[in-house]
């Protein structure tokens, strides 16, 4: 398979709009990298630049050490799976999967073997004589993947492949992609705006916003140690709660509430005495039995957990994911506590970690 390197990649359109700023990453052989971020953050543009569908304005793209920055898409040995499947409606599944190889004038017997092998991997053997219109969305997406597999490319590129599927099918197809990655051990780049896809699929995640890379790391790193408030707010569902607080006398004072800190937390904030910072708390890091009174205004039972929305202090909104089944009514007051806290610099919005300053 392949190692892919993006060095100082920029994308500037003709109207001087810059979509991607200084993108850097070295993708290891067999690694699955997920580009995640909100709409318009530049993740699809980056993928299209890698595929050769967009010109690279500045920077260098290397595949196995070979500079392919200016190499045409057809010569890059990469296969792309699109959101809308891009299947030929008048062709059968077999013909769709074989099409790229037919264009390359490969031996029909070799094509046949490759298509059957890919269909076997994807569980499409019984569907080969059907037309795309006769298949479900998930099956169509598998056909699109099969069309990539038969080419045996060095790199697989996925551009929001599950966005057209319903929630249940999305989960099933996501697992199939994961199994496919394990089976093929292929280098893959995957674009999504869905953090669940990113967290479940990725070996490493690239979180992007406004064309800038915010953080590159394993799913756990992004969840556990977000670089800034953007990553902290984007990764995790429901999103992290943020409060403006002042670190004073070993405690955090917010609007109408006060939170005590452990010695380790105090040490991490040693340079921020009497300064305003942002306190971040994930909903799942809030538990019943603390000393923060929260007035409930909404209670959503999710089965294993209950999502409680309320207000604390001077009306600050807070969401908590409590374990088990709870039946709080609007107006109930529940005592909650923060079991884990994240701190961010108020000015830069970057995470405050011990030894950062």
């Amino acid at each position: 398979m392949a190692e892919l390197s993006l060095h100082h990649i920029d994308k500037i359109y003709d109207n001087n709009v810059q979509a991607v700023y200084d993108f850097n990453i070295d993708i290891r052989d067999g690694e699955l990298i997920v580009l995640v971020g909100p709409s318009g953050c530049g993740k699809s543009t980056t993928l299209r630049m890698v595929a050769g569908l967009e010109d690279i304005s500045n920077g260098q793209l290397l595949l196995d050490g070979r500079d392919i920055t200016r190499v045409p898409a057809k010569d890059r040995d990469m296969a792309m799976v699109f959101q809308n499947y891009a299947l030929y409606g008048h062709m059968t599944i077999y013909e769709n999967m074989a099409f790229s190889l037919v264009l390359r004038k490969e031996d029909p017997n070799v094509i046949h073997k490759k298509v059957l092998a890919a269909a076997e991997i994807l569980g499409l053997t019984s569907q080969l004589n059907k037309k795309p219109a006769q298949l479900s969305g998930g099956q169509r997406q598998r056909v699109a993947m099969g069309r990539s597999i038969v080419r045996n490319p060095k790199v697989f590129l996925f551009d929001e492949p599950l966005s057209n599927l319903d929630a249940k099918l999305r989960g099933a197809t996501r697992r199939e992609i994961l199994l496919l990655h394990k089976r093929l051990n292929a280098t893959m780049m995957y674009v999504t705006h869905d953090q669940t896809e990113a967290l479940t699929l990725a070996d490493r995640i690239v979180c992007m916003s406004m064309g800038h890379v915010q953080q590159i790391g394993t799913p756990l790193e992004l969840y556990d140690s977000p670089n800034n408030t953007f990553v902290a707010g984007f990764i995790g569902l429901p999103p992290m709660n943020f409060f403006d607080v002042v670190f004073e006398n070993g405690a955090l004072r917010g609007k109408g509430f006060e939170v005590s800190l452990s010695d380790a937390e105090k040490a991490a904030l040693a340079d921020y005495n009497r300064k305003e910072i942002i306190l971040g708390v994930r909903p799942e890091d809030i538990a019943e039995g603390g000393d923060l009174p929260v007035k409930v205004f909404s209670n959503e039972n999710l089965g294993m957990n209950t999502l409680v929305h309320g207000r604390m202090g001077d009306g600050l909104r807070v969401s908590a994911k409590l374990r088990g089944w709870s039946d709080y009514k609007a107006g109930d007051v529940v005592s909650l506590g923060f079991t884990r806290k994240h701190f961010f610099d108020k000015e830069t919005t970057n995470a405050i970690r011990k030894g950062d300053r």
Partner: protein, 161 residues
């Protein structure tokens, strides 16, 4: 592990019989050429009841040949027999109009003329014979392929059982 011959047979499970289908379409093209050429015939001879029948048959032929081309595309054996019948009729048509027309002399404006000239006669014979040949070839190819495919599928089912 399949050998090359088995792979070639197995491919037919997912690919169309385009050879037979294209031959049947070519037969339609030859028929159209024949029909168009026929209009150069001396009109006094052609303006008979046979003209209407000829037009109607051409329509029927084109429809039947086209449907058969779609049938053989999917290795359906029965359409081979339809193509054979259409081929036999194409041969028969040589003797229904061109041969009598070529043998008939008409007096037009005091001059003696053949209803169908030698050159035109050769052309229409080539077109009809070409059409018939394409139909027979399409039928034969389809018969061979469909039988081979049938046997291959039976052997696959036998292996699965």
């Amino acid at each position: 592990m399949m050998n090359e011959q088995s792979v070639r047979l197995d491919r037919m499970r997912f690919t169309k019989n385009t050879t037979s289908s294209r031959l049947a379409i070519l037969a339609i093209v030859f028929d159209v050429l024949y029909f168009v050429s026929l209009y150069k015939i001396n009109v006094d001879y052609y303006y008979t009841l046979i003209m209407g029948a000829s037009i109607l048959y051409n329509l029927v032929f084109m429809l039947a040949a086209f449907l058969s081309s779609e049938g053989v595309k999917n290795y359906k054996q029965s359409y081979s027999w339809v193509l054979c019948v259409l081929g036999i009729i194409q041969i028969a048509r040589i003797f229904i109009l061109p041969v009598p027309a070529h043998a008939t002399t008409l007096t037009v404006g005091g001059a003696e003329l053949l209803a169908m000239s030698d050159g035109q006669f050769v052309r229409v014979i080539v077109y009809l014979a070409g059409s018939a040949a394409c139909l027979f070839a399409a039928a034969a190819v389809n018969l061979v392929k469909s039988r081979a495919l049938k046997a291959h599928i039976a052997s696959l089912e036998g292996q699965q059982a």
